[in-house]
């Protein structure tokens, strides 16, 4: 479903020298599978999520991004979103003055228009919002607020998963979705993510710790270090990393 081939990318600095961060990432996530990427801070995990989403702060210098058989490397972020890529941000952005549901309805309909589908009606959308909010313990008061404004870190993460439920993407990238969550919130968020698991949907879960993976039960775990995938294994690999840390990959930087 998602195939990353020999991906090299660097930061587009506003000034100074470009800094290479991804140095040949190879990864395949078939439909229906959940893959985790673990790795030490600074290994390029978050950069990978931004590059997948099409952030213009990074420049792809080599390799390819293939999604459902098509090269999406040259597409704008909104075009990738319309094809079904969803990024749950590590730091969700506050947008004062734009109510959450207004924003999501605009986003959903923009995606639908881009795919040549009929727009969703307001009553249907609100009904769906109520159902999804209930799953995540989100109050109607929270939905009325501007996007992410005034929410705690944990609430923002919960709203990210709410947005994913509303937009029903084909592929989710979860960037450090567990950071800032206490154990109860982690469970709620994980249940929301698990509700999105389906045979025709893929997921890439980027995390530093293993605890989110206890709930999400990935099919495959990759270890990233110094801008490359350095090891791939089953769910047990996450447990090994949790007990042994990332020291053994420190040499990969060379």
């Amino acid at each position: 479903m998602l195939e990353i081939k020999n991906l090299h990318a660097r930061v587009n600095p506003e000034e100074g020298e470009a800094l290479a961060i991804l140095k040949g990432v190879d990864l395949k996530v078939p439909a229906g599978e959940v893959h985790a990427i673990m790795g030490p801070n600074g290994c390029g995990k978050s950069t990978l999520s931004y590059v997948l989403a099409g952030h213009d702060g990074y420049e792809v210098t080599d390799g390819a991004l293939v999604f459902e058989g098509a090269d999406i490397g040259a597409l704008a972020p909104e075009e990738r979103a319309a094809r079904g890529l969803f990024l749950s941000f590590q730091y969700p952005v506050e947008i004062p003055g734009v109510p959450t549901l207004t924003f999501l309805k605009e986003a959903a309909n923009a995606q639908r228009r881009a795919r040549g589908e009929a727009e969703v009606s307001a009553p249907d959308f609100i009904k769906l919002a109520r159902e999804n909010a209930a799953k995540l313990g989100i109050s109607s008061e929270m939905l009325k607020r501007p996007v992410n404004v005034g929410f705690s870190g944990g609430e923002k993460k919960r709203m990210e998963i709410f947005q994913a439920l509303m937009l029903a993407p084909k592929f989710l990238i979860l960037d450090e979705t567990d950071s800032g969550l206490d154990i109860d919130a982690l469970k709620v968020v994980a249940e929301g993510v698990n509700a999105l698991r389906s045979p025709d949907r893929g997921m890439l879960v980027i995390t530093h710790y293993q605890r989110l993976l206890d709930y999400l039960k990935p099919d495959v775990v990759h270890v990233m270090a110094a801008g490359r995938i350095v090891e791939t294994g089953g769910p047990d690999l996450a447990l090994t990393l949790e007990s042994q840390g990332y020291e053994k990959y420190a040499g990969a930087a060379a």
């Binding site: 989403a53 952030h55 704008a76 909104e78 990738r80 319309a82 003055g97 923009a110 995606q111």
Partner: protein, 365 residues
Amino acid sequence: MTLPVKLSAFEAALAEQLPAGDLRAELEGRGLPHRRVEDWKWSDLRTALARLPAEAGELTLTMSRAPDARRPLMGAPDQIMARLAAALGGQAQVYDLHNGETVTLDASVAAGAGHGAVVVRARDGVHAVVRERYSAAPGAMLNLNVHYAISPRAHLTRIIEQDASPDAVIVVTTTMDLSQRAHAAQTTLGFGAKLARLETNISHGGQGASLEMNGAYLVGEGLHLDQTGIVRHTGPGGTTRELFKGAAAHGGRGVFQGKIHVERAAQKTDAKMNHRGLLLDGRSEIDAKPELEIYADDVVCAHGNALGAMDAAALFYMRQRGLSEPRARALLTRSFLAEPLERLSDEAVREALMARLQTALEGMS
């Protein structure tokens, strides 16, 4: 001593219409306000008008009802544009507001230079709304002098819409006497002109009087809007709240000059002024000069001013969710500009202004 300036054809035509006297001598001696006059340093009226056809025109005032009186405007303020409007605009239309009424005044000029004057009185205890709208056709100038006299315990709501008027010049000079215990709330939504200047001079009597002055502006390519507001607190215990927010697109220019002057007698004045500007493009410009001048020692006064570009992180976030870049920018701009308009208590008016803003944003993207 300075030598008389060389008048443009436009200035010479204006001077010819004036009777001999101080005003004509001043115009012939100094010309119209220009960038070397401190109060006009960002709005070079002289240059903007020099390129307009030098012909007399007519200011059309369309009003929701007939005025209560017409009389020459006496005691015109010292600003030259206001004096020209009074001298060349014929008799002022005088309104004595009835309790509970809404008066609408549409001022426009179709061709040439049109001048006019309006006087609005809100007598003791009267609550009323005045909605003003200004526009000028390409090549035209609108020059209006507006005077408000607000008596004790009166409550005035003033709403101003200034239509985008490319290749035109609009100057509206307002003086407002806000009596003790009176309340005035002014909200402006402006889109600029080749040069538009909305100037408001308020004498604030204090003693429980309160003033709200809010404005939103959006200036597109080739459009310039100058909002200059001078509030002079003359009596003790007055309140002023100002919030102006504006966005300038590619080739647009916003100017905000705000001054709060607190006289020695105006103890316990509580005044706050805030201006925030959004630069939508590397070729947009906003100039701002907020000032406090305080001669009383027991006051609470504050001003804030901030200019910035669109939040890139918010833009990327919205695009990741599927919004096109122009749509994301329009939504962010709209939410930025909504705040001053949201302070309007009348929901229908608030929504009408938001709808105008929305239409303007859609036209830009």
